[in-house]
């Protein structure tokens, strides 16, 4: 980043001479320091999982929920500045509500992802605002089946089979790729819950010194009647057990995979910054 400090990175909506928008790139940095989130798309639904770093033993377990619902059939999880994510979800809820008022049916996932990404993009255009410091994974079920999208601070929006963002995204992406290579004849949401847990546990390996709590939600035609819900306690426990089991094998087995994530930038920000992030 040669142009840093030359003045083109001090204001949003400004291009540098080589055509970059630095404030957006810096917003991506905020995402890259955030806790890992993943989303998995299956034939009959989607699964979301997120790592919640336990910064104090005074925190109440199972509270401080991160995954959110938009309308009833869409879930959203994000990494980066959590309050930014909440704001974006509120906007998504308004869009969903407006859509339903106008068309008297629930908003399709693709339409919602599209509207949200346009909103995020608008925050890269003006110097009176800053870009969103989050990457949001949005997914759910509509009349055409299950869908999964990820929106980045630039407003970019891609559809995914498996999406990962946050600190451990590289390890998580590698695992998701292997997962989809393996499951050629499809993946059920129940299996995806276990796999999502495993991916988060593996992604957490580089951040081992910090304890974390796992949060998983799903939206499935067969299991949740098309509604986005947190997974029942017993399934969560089962998934965590599976993840821990698999992790032991992982640690002994393919240590070369861990090298993939070692080229990551070192964590920036002091303890306070960390709190603001998580």
């Amino acid at each position: 980043m040669t142009s840093i400090g030359t003045g083109y990175d001090l204001s949003n909506s400004v291009f540098s001479p080589d055509g970059r928008n630095f404030q957006v790139e810096y917003a991506v940095k905020a995402v890259e320091n955030g806790a890992t989130s993943v989303g998995i798309k299956c034939d009959d639904g989607v699964v979301f999982a997120v790592e919640k770093i336990i910064s104090s033993k005074l925190l109440v377990p199972k509270r401080n929920v991160k995954i959110q619902t938009i309308d009833r059939h869409i879930g959203c999880v994000y990494s980066g500045l959590i309050p930014d994510g909440r704001y974006l979800v509120n906007r998504g809820r308004e869009e969903a509500s407006n859509f339903k008022k106008l068309y008297t049916k629930p908003i399709p996932v693709s339409a919602l992802a599209d509207r949200i990404s346009q909103y995020v993009q608008a925050y890269t255009l003006y110097n009176s605002v800053r870009p969103f410091g989050i990457s949001a994974i949005i997914g759910g079920i509509d009349e055409d089946g299950s869908h999964l999208y990820m929106v980045e601070p630039s407003g970019t929006c891609w559809g995914y089979k498996g999406a990962a963002t946050g600190k451990g995204r590289q390890a998580a992406k590698a695992e998701l790729e292997k997962l989809f290579d393996r499951s050629t004849d499809g993946l059920s949401v129940k299996d995806a819950i276990k796999e999502a847990a495993r991916v988060i546990y593996i992604a957490h390996e580089d951040n081992k010194e910090k304890d974390f709590e796992l949060e998983i939600s799903w939206c499935s035609a067969t299991e949740t009647n098309g509604l986005h819900k947190f997974v029942p306690e017993n399934l969560l426990e089962e998934a965590i057990e599976y993840a821990k089991e698999q992790l032991e094998g992982y640690e002994e087995g393919d240590s070369d995979d861990e090298a993939a994530s070692s080229d990551e930038e070192p964590a920036t920000g002091d303890a306070d910054g960390d709190v603001a992030m998580e």
């Binding site: 929920v65 959110q68 619902t69 809820r93 509500s97 339903k100 008022k101 008297t104």
Partner: protein
């Protein structure tokens, strides 16, 4: 006096204030909003029993005296232990349906206890609806309905009425429209006072409501044979049954009725 040549002879703005043009262009008719319902649903009946509430409404929407639409559902389930019964204008009812769906969706947002401690209760739903009804009537633009909210809350039956005027009240038996005249006296034979609720079984209440629906079908020209009936019970929750038909009707007397219609007396 104003000496501007274009407004000569008119009262001076500085003394009398600017002339309000709206007065000159005012319509001959007053502004009106809804002054009568168009497509309507008839009575809603509800009564308490020990441990719950029974509520019923038929499946007809009338256009004046024309029995226009069949298969209309006028009992709306909200959350896990509330049913809202709506009589009156059907398009306003559909608007209310959307409002209820919205508060139900909103209640699930950022609410970890949405299915336990912080689920929607009938009292919340009722307060919301009565606030809407009163605010609309205060804007001189009422929703033309009479509504009964029925449910269970804190292990006890809940039942309350609100109408287009924003008037609310409760009683161990409730009925809107024609039912208030015909069904209430019949229901009160079973549950006259709050104390009688404890001595009334679910079966007795359902039987009473079914009987009242039959009486209404006999005597209310805007009613239909097919109706929905919901029981909201402290133990078993909501059971909503659609398309129940009035049965065991006796029409033998009809041939003896003289003096109406086209037959010769």
């Amino acid at each position: 006096m104003n000496h501007d040549p274009f407004a000569w002879g008119r009262p001076d703005d500085a003394t009398y204030g600017r002339y309000n043009e709206k007065i000159a262009y005012a319509s001959n008719q007053p502004t009106t909003n809804t002054t009568q319902p168009i497509v309507t649903g008839t009575s809603v009946l509800a009564m308490k029993y020990k441990g719950g509430v029974v509520i019923a409404a038929d499946n007809l929407a009338s256009y004046g005296s024309l029995l226009r639409f069949n298969g209309i559902e006028r009992l709306i389930k909200v959350g896990q232990n509330t049913v809202v019964g709506v009589s009156g204008d059907v398009s306003d009812m559909q608007h209310i349906e959307r409002l209820l769906e919205e508060i139900e969706t909103d209640n699930n947002y950022d609410n970890t206890y949405s299915e336990s401690f912080e689920q929607l209760q009938p009292s919340y739903v009722f307060k919301y609806l009565s606030a809407v009804m009163y605010s609309r009537r205060s804007k001189m633009n009422p929703l033309w309905n009479a509504i009964i909210v029925a449910g269970v809350e804190n292990g006890a039956p809940f039942m309350r009425y609100v109408n287009l005027l924003g008037v609310t009240y409760t009683s161990p038996t409730l009925a809107t429209g024609f039912g208030a005249h015909l069904a209430n006296p019949l229901m009160r034979r079973v549950v006259d006072r709050e104390e009688d609720v404890a001595n009334t079984t679910r079966e007795a209440a359902v039987e009473t409501i079914k009987n009242c629906m039959k009486v209404l079908y006999y005597r209310d020209a805007r009613s239909a044979k097919s109706y929905s009936l919901a029981v909201i019970d402290c133990e078993t929750g909501v059971s909503l049954e659609h398309g129940i038909e009035v049965d065991n009707m006796v029409w033998g007397f009809a041939k003896d009725i003289k003096g109406y219609g086209t037959q010769k007396v």
